[in-house]
């Protein structure tokens, strides 16, 4: 067992597998995790604000930016996480496997960190493909795992801090006891001598022995070239996976968006759709005889589409920005929500409940704080890009507000009700 673990470490030895490289890639990955966590938390609070929380409505593209960044950083984690795991992979075969109870906890926390990280970015990616092959709810698990990951990250940095501090800056010499981990001597020479000291010159026989002999006969990689090549590969991979997908939100990259799950301009009236009328079960029959009901206390008023069209119209240019990271600029025309709120006498500080015609769905009924209700850009939209709103975009009327995720831009809007304490 002991021999096998040593041989595994020796076979895996590589000039890029050293603590300096682990620190260099680790801090990039850590930064990407923090960006994902921060933007994810922001998106979470937009959807489930804490009591009394007021959220920013400017700049209008704020959510488009934060959520686009969330997905871009998440995709960048694929090459970064794989690179980090590549660097530290020999540690899996450390001997003895467990030195003490604390060491057992440390290894268990590392295993959890690795497993949760891999799962988090994988389900995050596949969620953007609208595919849910796992046996658990995505939103809740993605949120809980975010806390697990950020906790694991702090724990991991805490455990490894002496190593991180020592290898933070590039130095010619990292101090005693680390020679073999740095640029000077290949790892395999030291690990090899260790194996030889333990077991003399006898080598394992049988299949394992032949495998090891085969690996030993492989020419070693040039150190400097390997390290530069590794860093270049990681850099190019991050740039590539981001560059070829980010066009779904970042317009300048639209031309090279060949792998993004969404494409700008693809959809009815040039805007992608997240939930179709069919999925929401909203048919022509359901919208027949539609009116928009606005309620405040005992006062209730209903408006037909024609009545809304006769009210003062406002045109705004706002992005529809999805939790899945895509976004699309569009021109919307309709009635200011605050005008409707004023008609039923709702005050400046009133929050509203927005209800859709759809029968089911997590976002059938949502709430909107006063910062959005009073915003001059917040509309009950009747037109999109110069045409009557398509059924897929929420005809007869939908909400559009600055800086909110698409799931809260209620389509097939049927009822707006003031929340009175």
């Amino acid at each position: 067992m002991r021999r096998l673990l040593y041989e595994a470490q020796r076979s895996l030895a590589s000039p890029v597998r050293n603590p300096r490289m682990a620190t260099v890639i680790g801090r990039l990955l850590g930064a990407a995790f923090l960006v994902c966590f921060g933007t994810g938390l922001y998106s979470h609070f937009l959807q489930q604000p804490l009591p009394g929380m007021r959220l920013p409505t400017r700049p209008e593209f704020l959510y488009q930016f934060t959520e686009g960044t969330h997905i871009i950083a998440g995709i960048a984690c694929f090459p970064l996480l794989l690179a980090k795991l590549y660097i530290v992979f020999p540690d899996l075969f450390a001997y003895p496997p467990v030195r003490s109870f604390v060491h057992l906890l440390e290894r268990a926390s590392t295993a959890l960190f690795v497993g949760a990280s891999l799962l988090q970015i994988t389900i995050g990616l596949i969620n953007t493909y609208h595919w849910y092959p796992w046996p658990f709810p995505f939103r809740q698990v993605h949120f809980a795992l975010a806390w697990v990951l950020i906790g694991s990250l702090a724990l991991h940095i805490g455990i490894k801090l002496p190593i991180i501090a020592r290898f933070w800056r590039k130095r010619a010499d990292y101090g005693p006891g680390t020679d073999h981990l740095t640029d000077a001597v290949p790892v395999e020479r030291v690990a090899g001598s260790e194996a030889e000291r333990l077991w003399g010159s006898s080598r394992p026989t049988g299949l394992t022995g032949r495998l090891i002999a085969y690996l030993d006969a492989t020419p070693p990689a040039d150190e400097k070239v390997s390290r530069r090549g590794f860093l270049a590969t990681v850099g190019v991979a991050v740039a590539t996976v981001v560059g070829l997908t980010a066009g779904q939100t970042f317009a300048p990259l639209d031309a090279v968006n060949v792998f993004g799950p969404r494409k700008k301009g693809v959809g009815q009236q040039g805007v992608p759709v997240n939930r179709t009328s069919k999925q929401a079960n909203v048919t022509e029959a359901v919208i027949a005889g539609w009116t928009l009901t606005v309620v405040h206390g005992g006062l209730e008023r209903s408006f037909t589409r024609a009545e809304l069209e006769r009210m003062p119209q406002t045109e705004v240019t706002l992005p529809i920005a999805c939790v899945e990271g895509w976004s699309q600029m569009a021109t919307w025309r309709g009635v200011r929500l605050r005008d409707l709120a004023d008609l039923v006498g709702a005050g400046e500080e009133t929050s509203f409940t927005l209800v859709s015609l759809e029968e089911r769905g997590s976002f059938r009924q949502t709430q909107m704080g006063p910062e959005y209700v009073r915003d001059p850009l917040t509309l009950v939209a009747l037109e999109l890009n110069g045409e009557t709103l398509d059924l897929e975009h929420g005809y007869p009327a939908r909400m559009i507000a600055p800086g909110r995720p698409g799931v809260l831009q209620t389509k097939w809007l049927s009822r707006i009700e003031a929340i009175t304490a």
Partner: protein, 167 residues
């Protein structure tokens, strides 16, 4: 056994006599980390039905197994095979080839689930609207082309350098 010569134990000397600032920082980070983990566990049991948790644990475990027992060994052997096959090639060229294969593989890893998802029940034509299979094939052709061009340039540069040396 000489512990100091294994990488994981190389820093025992420093760990034994840490600077006070370091010790405080580590304690704070470890406490914060444990608190984050505990909060995550609480959020999980609070929002996800208990019956779903074994499935989640299985997926976390499977993620580790897929990486440690499938991806990592494949990478090791691909690297070994490439270095053996590339005995006669310059180190830089082998590295360029290695990088190209890694780049293509990571992109493939990201795009294959996309192609699978596209093949499933297409409820919404604005989701996954592109021809990802063709795009992936073109991507491989392009990076193979770039790798060939870079390798050729490296060879040209090396042979020019050789000629200068022999003068």
């Amino acid at each position: 056994m000489n512990q100091a010569s294994t990488p994981s134990n190389a820093l025992t000397a420093e760990q034994a006599a840490p600077r006070p600032g370091m010790r405080v920082a580590r304690a704070i980070l470890i406490l914060l980390g444990v608190a984050g983990l505990a909060w995550g566990a609480w959020v999980l049991v609070d929002t996800v039905r208990i019956a779903r948790l074994p499935g989640l644990a299985l997926w976390v475990g499977a993620a580790i197994v897929v990486h440690d027992a499938v991806i990592a060994p494949l990478v090791l052997f691909a690297g070994v095979l490439l270095r053996r096959a590339g005995r006669r090639l310059a180190g830089t060229v082998v590295t360029v080839l290695q990088g190209t294969i890694v780049l293509g593989s990571i992109m493939t890893l990201i795009v294959v689930p996309e192609i699978v998802a596209q093949g499933l029940d297409p409820k919404n034509p604005t989701v996954l609207p592109l021809d990802y299979g063709t795009n992936l094939a073109v991507f491989w052709v392009v990076i193979a082309g770039v790798a060939t061009a870079v390798s050729a340039a490296l060879y040209a540069r090396n042979s020019r350098a050789d000629r200068r040396l022999s003068l």
